[in-house]
Symmetry: none
Subunit: 137 residues, 4 copies
DNA sequence: GTGGTCTAGACCACG
DNA sequence: GTGGTCTAGACCACC
């Protein structure tokens, strides 16, 4: 069972970002294991009906983050887990997303407790599937 | 004590969005009560050193959402509370943001417990100001 | 005196990489101070006689590394110094370049002492100009 | 004990370049003496699990540089030492690599002393094997 | 005016 | 076959 990419063409976020997020999540949860191959740029572009450059941009970003590696002429592969960012930087990247969730939740009329409840549900959903992700290095 | 807007120019999100979010949150938590006046477009633009068009765009979006109302020639005022979205719709809007937070956190190498900890911190920060907002209508 | 970019069109490395390296060096040595503006994408593209996309790609990479930041609609600016990579990651990135230098030096017929001498000269040349670079945060 | 090639497939540099560099370094440090035979194209390709074309390309480049010579039907052999480039030319070739190392090191946030330390480590690693290479002609 | 995204199509290096 | 680079030209969001 090979890994498959999906996009929502008209969607909220840019296509290349949807691809990046999808691969990052798959790797983080172990659904894509180190060493596993990703669809080739051309193959993915054909399947998703988008331009190969868009896929290449997504793959390039993932490679720069150390999530995947290219092997000359053979394709892109999931890299072994590696912690590249400092704790400070990782917090700096995650904090605005937490703030956005809190802000949007309260603005929609939820109580803090309700926002927390919804968050706990989604957190629990993502936790179990991976006994060997890159979560706790 | 009048309501004051603040922005971080070098930024994560567009300025007009920062204003929208700030007002929405202030209204949701009761820090801005129904009937209260917002700073005029010109005053806000001067104070924040930004283009008046940017403030006007933010106010326009808030007005379209029914959060604030313009009274001809007198300025913008907080509208009476009105629950626009059903519970289901509100959950549908918030869930993807929770998922994004969890996704990004795990991808950065945080454990679920660490993501939760950071979220709790940011949630606590937004909670205290109002015991009687429009949270539970 | 504004900052100016230069490229060698037929050169060894890709154009976008030349731009990235040039800006990174200027920032590291303090020749570009935090808060200072970079040439706009379009202006740089015109001056260098290259495609705007090429400049944009270089700026994008610099932004992802935290070297520069974009301010909505105003351009790109040098970001305040920030250490984003772990020590391990920084060593991992620099080591192959040191190996390449040693390898090439010895292959060219230099003695290790001669390679060292040349390296010391170039290191000394880059050191003095900046009393306030991002060298020792 | 015959000379052995090694490659790191998942890599920083192209495989054919890894082979070229490895042979050049071995010859420069005397680990491969003039007249000594290299593994045949076919043997090397089998051992390294790579395409024979890749080995042939590497050997071709080494032959063009005068490092090795092919003897019809008998294989490739290390050529007698020959200094191709003048001192000036050799310095001209090595300097940009030293500059790149210094540039990258400082940009990553290392102090000059730290860059020097890492360089000394890598230099020491390549030095010992040969007291009588073609280093000082 | 600014940068960001996407498409189309070309050429190159590598295996 | 693979990915990497560059060009050309379009449209959008933001200020």
């Amino acid at each position: 069972m090979a890994f498959e990419l999906n996009i929502l063409p008209g969607g909220g976020s840019p296509i290349f970002r949807q691809i990046v997020d999808q691969v990052r999540l798959a790797v983080a949860t172990g659904r894509l294991a180190p060493g596993e191959a990703l669809p080739s740029v051309r193959a993915a572009a054909e399947k998703l009906l988008i331009n190969p450059n868009t896929v290449a941009k997504a793959y390039g970003e993932l490679a720069r983050e150390g999530i995947i590696e290219g092997q000359q002429g053979r394709g892109m592969f999931v890299a072994p887990p590696r912690q590249i960012y400092t704790k400070t930087e990782r917090v700096r990247r995650l904090t605005p997303m937490a703030d956005a969730l809190v802000n949007e939740g309260l603005s929609l009329g939820f109580t803090p407790a309700e926002v927390d409840e919804l968050f706990q549900q989604r957190l629990a959903k993502a936790k179990p599937p991976s006994p060997s992700g890159r979560n706790t290095p």
